[in-house]
């Protein structure tokens, strides 16, 4: 059976002598591993259209249900090649595609993730502050995946905390009032200001994410919270994170 869909290259690895397995995030089928034959020969017909981050229309062949999919046609619609001339942007794109790879399941269709990925690669291409773009991406991704933290009221008793925010409970997955904090085992300190910034990063219109005012310290705090959070709730650790920080520095 042939499958046709739009797809973003989020990962690739060599396979056998001349082949490669590309991981796409597709519009119609979610994350997919696809075998590309002969891609490592210099005269291969796919050219650079299957580079990381490219957005393609692809045609796949599935011999029998469950077989490894084989790429038969590929047409690049957007190569995002401006990302590639800037180290910070490449590193940021590495990070968001790696998040999409690590935090999603195979063949689990989610058009919101596809759109998020596409939109944020587009934003990165034009970005002046890639670090804000990726911070916003990771928070938005959590919400799409159904793991969004509670950032409006106490996650336990639902009381509105307003300016008195002191803690974020990893266990309950949100900000927590001082009262409830006593019965939560995994609190990390988080101030009102940082929570406001997180909300802005999540809800700001796409064309003004970079206008959100975020200090370096606040960005670090959000990063740290995010790492702990995905480890606690999704059992995930971003191995590429340390390397990406070195590239962005």
């Amino acid at each position: 059976m042939y499958l046709r869909t739009d797809a973003i290259v989020i990962s690739k690895r060599n396979f056998r002598e001349n082949d490669r397995i590309i991981t796409f995030y597709t519009r119609t089928y979610g994350k997919l591993d696809v075998l590309v034959k002969g891609i490592r020969k210099i005269e291969n017909r796919f050219g650079s259209s299957l580079e990381l981050f490219t957005y393609n229309e692809i045609l796949l062949w599935e011999k029998r249900k469950g077989d490894l999919l084989i790429l038969t046609q590929c047409q690049t619609k957007e190569s995002f090649f401006k990302i590639r001339s800037d180290l910070k942007k490449i590193a940021s794109a590495f990070y968001i595609t790696d998040l999409a790879r690590e935090l999603t399941k195979d063949k689990d269709k989610n058009i919101d993730i596809f759109n998020l990925l596409f939109t944020f690669l587009y934003l990165l291409e034009k970005a002046n502050k890639p670090e804000i773009i990726i911070s916003s991406f990771q928070l938005r991704l959590l919400f799409i995946l159904g793991f969004g933290p509670e950032l409006d009221k106490c996650v336990n008793c639902k009381i509105v905390i307003s300016k008195n925010i002191k803690y974020f409970s990893l266990q309950f997955g949100g900000i927590i009032c001082n009262n409830c904090a006593r019965s939560s085992s995994s609190n990390i300190s988080l101030d009102h200001n940082t929570v406001m910034i997180m909300n802005k990063l999540i809800y700001a219109p796409l064309n003004s994410i970079e206008n959100v005012i975020v200090s370096f310290v606040a960005l670090k705090k959000i990063e740290h919270l995010f790492s702990l959070y995905i480890f606690y709730h999704m059992d995930k650790k971003m191995k590429s994170k340390k390397i990406i920080e070195k590239l962005i520095k």
Binding site: R45, E51, S79, L87, F94, Y95
Partner: protein, 202 residues
């Protein structure tokens, strides 16, 4: 139930670690080795040992060599002021085959690829920066593969070398010989246009 004896199974397992060798091929190779003359098989085993015992990385450029310093680095006729940076020893061989380059090399032994856990410290960038810092280098040519990981590697190296007064260049990317303009993708075409060269230049 066990299909093979321990030693035969072990051979199959070892062979299947080789790139491009699946369990079936490994099994076929193992049978082939089993049927070989004893001397032939021993000579194969010996060749593997020799390669591991004798060949190591050149202390200067990380090329493969049987002495401390490789043929290229110890060649008096090569221009030590120009360093060509490549990812792997195979890339050096490819450039040497052109016979057009008379400088020396620096082999990174990899590329930056965060998804594979490879960062700047996992490849030989520090020693390159050290060489340039010491002085006497006029030009560093980045002959790194033109893919995203290669771009990241090249940009990172360029950033590290920027403080030193050294010319940093990179290979022109363009259309491969025999390619069809009509089928070339946008990135290749853009790069080819940027890297165009003058005809009849004096």
């Amino acid at each position: 139930m066990k299909l093979y004896s321990d030693s035969f199974e072990k051979l199959i397992n070892e062979l299947s670690r080789l790139p491009g060798i699946g369990p079936k091929t490994a099994q076929r190779l193992a049978f082939f080795i089993l049927k070989m003359q004893k001397e032939e098989a021993e000579s194969l085993a010996f060749a593997i040992q020799e390669v591991k015992n004798k060949i190591h990385y050149c202390k200067v450029c990380n090329n493969l060599t049987e002495s401390d310093i490789c043929n290229i680095c110890s060649d008096q006729n090569r221009n030590k002021e120009i360093i060509c940076v490549v990812e792997e020893p195979n890339d050096l061989i490819a450039i040497e085959k052109t016979r057009g380059f008379r400088g020396v090399y620096h082999i990174l032994l990899g590329r930056i690829s965060p998804m594979d856990g490879l960062g700047p410290e996992d490849i030989k960038i520090d020693s390159l920066v050290g060489k340039v810092k010491k002085g006497g280098i006029r030009e560093v040519i980045l002959a790194i593969n033109p893919n995203v990981e290669g771009e990241a590697t090249a940009l990172y190296i360029a950033k590290q070398l920027k403080p030193f007064s050294v010319k940093i260049t990179r290979l022109a990317h363009g259309l491969p010989m025999g390619a069809d303009l009509e089928y070339a993708d946008e990135v290749t075409l853009t790069r080819a246009m940027e890297g165009r060269s003058e005809m009849f230049s004096t």
